[in-house]
């Protein structure tokens, strides 16, 4: 939110590719994004995994807005098939789903952030710009999911395994504040650190989520069912 002003000044709009199996939602999102003229340009859309893979290869967009829930494997499948060949393309998961398993799967597959479909147009534009600039975008809900995934709960794997990637206390704090609905600026003020540091923490949490070999993260869905 804080860097909308400086990015708006930039010359080239962010080229966005929409992937969602609901044509109605694509139309709506496109209309909302196109309102941000000069900031965002919607260059294409796809309604299925196959179309998405072909479209991303053809258009080479900056940011892909990726639906989590789709037939044929959903967003995670698109990432699996595109990620290697197009490492520069940034993915932002956009979902209506409350199923944390799906969302975590997309994040683990390499999406740079996750926002819910109830997000306002302004926030969505902001999120797209932010992921384009290399930042990770965490909605409060995603922060909750990730906290849950890394949680030290009874029954989960022992936490003091040196091989496991863990969240530092600071990262945990940042994540908690995110989950409480704080903006980066507010988190920075709360923790007496700079906004830049908050961004670094968030990115590192994202990286850990993606790289984590904590098996309860990969088997998280199963764990949850056993609680």
């Amino acid at each position: 939110m804080n860097n909308t002003e400086d990015t708006a000044a930039q010359a080239r709009p962010v080229r966005v590719f929409l992937v969602d199996d609901h044509a109605l939602f694509r139309t709506g999102a496109k209309a909302e994004l196109t309102n941000a003229t000069g900031v965002i340009e919607v260059i294409g859309e796809a309604g299925s995994v196959g179309e998405a893979v072909a479209g991303i290869g053809h258009f080479q967009p900056d940011v892909v807005l990726l639906d989590v829930h789709m037939p044929d494997g959903g967003g995670a499948e698109v990432l699996r098939r595109v990620r290697k060949s197009h490492p520069d393309v940034v993915f932002l998961a956009l979902s209506v789903s409350d199923a944390a398993e799906d969302v975590i799967a997309v994040i683990r597959a390499g999406a740079r952030g996750y926002v819910t479909k109830t997000i306002s147009a302004r926030e969505l534009v902001d999120a797209v710009v932010r992921v384009h600039h290399g930042d990770a975008v965490f909605s409060p809900r995603l922060a909750g999911f990730v906290l849950d995934a890394f949680a030290d709960r009874p029954g989960a794997a022992p936490i003091n395994d040196p091989e496991l990637d863990l969240l530092t206390p600071r990262e945990r704090d940042v994540l908690r504040l995110l989950a409480r609905g704080y903006a980066y600026k507010e988190i920075a003020a709360e923790l007496f650190i700079s906004v830049k540091t908050v961004e670094t923490h968030v990115s590192s949490v994202l990286r850990k989520t993606q790289l984590s070999n904590r098996y309860e993260l990969s088997r998280w869905a199963t764990d949850r069912r056993l609680i």
Binding site: D98, A99, A151, R153, A179, R180, I227
Partner: protein
């Protein structure tokens, strides 16, 4: 098997029930309507019941009773005739067996009177018939004499098996349960049914073997047995693909039916929820607030249904839960038993009541006891305050359950207030939040300033002394 298939084929009740229904009416008022299946044999103007074996008040299989109902004569006469025919080389027995095999039983829902006098008469007639058969076969020198012993053993066996199949069918009707091929004979009757069926089968085999042994020499008997076995095996092998397909078709049919039912359930749910709400929204299109409230509450409902613990997608999650009883106390939403469920219920309530959005994030979960419940009510009061005074459209709720404590945060980005200017007569914050939390050993932290929004942080140690 063929007989069973036939009965099965006619089983779908839409075919049977209306017919029987119609007959119950026709017998009383005799209108013009007639069953085409019965028409030809009977008189032109007297409709008569379809030939169906009786279900209750039967002695062996209800054949005589059914026949009597069909022919509209007293059941005693039918039984006497059958008994007399039994004396003629066992013709009556054969007739009875044939009718038993071919005539389906009445559906369960047709009421029948039980007549104990008739029953005694019938039992007497069965004994009489048996005596007649014995007499004719032992005095007569025809082929039936030699046939008698093995034939009666075989018949008793067949009687056992058939009766078991009948029972099974009745049970199935009663429960409306779906069964596979094997269950046609065994059914849900348990071990007793298996034993009865096996005994019956054994008796039939014994009867056949004794019959053959009586009439043939040993060498020929061996040959005959061998050829029978070879034939049976050959037939089994030849028809194996057919059997497999039959089983597969049955499976497929069952799967299709389950899928169809599931689809119907989903359609019904969507109709009751989403479609109704969309219709309401269209009607209220001008009323901004109401539209949002409807959409939100619908979204929440659908989410719970799709992803919730007891919902469509998460039934396994719900069943895996240990059934620890949450202590219920007065006035709580009784359905929720875990903190996460309770929080989403409370948030939903506030959303609906005040037409604002409450975004909740819950990390971890625990059982709800009195203290947790108090914390949730305190959080609810904080939400209500935010909804009433903050003048915003959205409130964030974050709940984290840790091994040592439960933390709840209620936050808005509204106008905030100066804590020192709150008039002394306002009880919401003091009683409902501070008071509640302190009584249960928790703490409250309030952060607010004019223009800064408000955050209420509630902390509740989990391990503190519970009394």
């Amino acid at each position: 098997m063929a007989v069973q298939a036939d009965r099965e084929g006619r089983q779908p009740v839409p075919d049977d029930a209306p017919v029987d229904d119609a007959h119950r009416i026709t017998q009383r008022v005799a209108p013009a309507r007639r069953d085409p299946r019965v028409g030809g044999a009977g008189g032109e103007n007297t409709p008569r019941p379809t030939l169906r074996r009786r279900r209750s008040s039967r002695v062996v299989a209800g054949v005589a009773g059914g026949l009597a109902d069909h022919l509209k004569v007293d059941v005693l006469w039918v039984r006497v005739v059958i008994t007399l025919l039994a004396g003629v080389d066992g013709l009556g027995v054969v007739l009875y067996a044939a009718l038993w095999a071919l005539v389906p039983q009445r559906p369960v829902d047709v009421p029948e009177a039980v007549n104990s006098r008739q029953r005694t008469q019938a039992l007497g007639l069965v004994v009489l018939g048996f005596g007649l058969v014995v007499a004719t076969t032992s005095f007569g020198s025809g082929w039936s004499g030699r046939l008698f012993f093995p034939a009666s053993v075989g018949l008793i066996g067949a009687f056992l098996v058939w009766r078991e199949a009948d029972e099974t069918q009745r049970r199935r009707w009663a429960q409306g349960a779906r069964t596979g091929v094997a269950e046609v004979f065994i059914g849900n009757g348990g071990r007793g049914a298996v034993v009865r069926s096996l005994t019956g089968a054994g008796l039939v085999l014994t009867g056949i073997i004794v019959l053959l042994a009586n009439s043939l020499s040993l060498a020929r008997l061996q040959f005959a047995l061998l050829s029978v076995i070879v034939t049976l095996v050959g037939a089994a092998v030849l028809t194996l693909p057919w059997w497999l397909r039959l089983v597969r078709d049955l499976d497929e049919e069952r799967r299709v039916r389950i899928r169809t039912e599931e689809r119907a359930e989903i359609a019904a749910h969507l109709h009751d929820s989403v479609l109704q709400t969309l219709a309401l929204i269209q009607k209220q299109a001008e009323n901004d607030k109401e539209v949002r409230r409807l959409a939100r509450s619908q979204e929440r409902q659908l989410r719970t249904w799709l992803y919730g613990a007891t919902g469509y997608g998460g039934s396994s999650r719900a069943s895996a839960e240990p059934d620890a009883e949450a202590s219920p106390s007065a006035g709580e939403p009784a359905s929720a038993r875990t903190l996460a469920a309770l929080i989403s219920e409370v948030c939903g309530e506030v959303e609906d009541t005040f037409a604002i959005k409450v975004q909740q994030v819950v990390v971890g979960d625990c059982e709800v006891d009195d203290r947790v419940l108090a914390a949730v009510w305190a959080a609810r009061e904080a939400m209500v305050n935010a909804a009433k005074h903050a003048e915003v459209g959205e409130v964030s709720v974050f709940v984290e359950v840790e091994p040592a404590q439960v933390e709840l945060f209620v936050r808005d980005r509204g106008k905030g207030f100066d804590t020192s200017t709150v008039p002394g007569d306002r009880h919401g914050l003091a009683d409902s939040i501070h008071g509640r939390m302190e009584r249960h050993g928790g703490t409250v932290r309030l952060r607010t300033a004019p223009g800064e929004g408000t955050e209420v942080a509630l902390r509740l140690p989990r391990t503190a002394d519970k009394r």
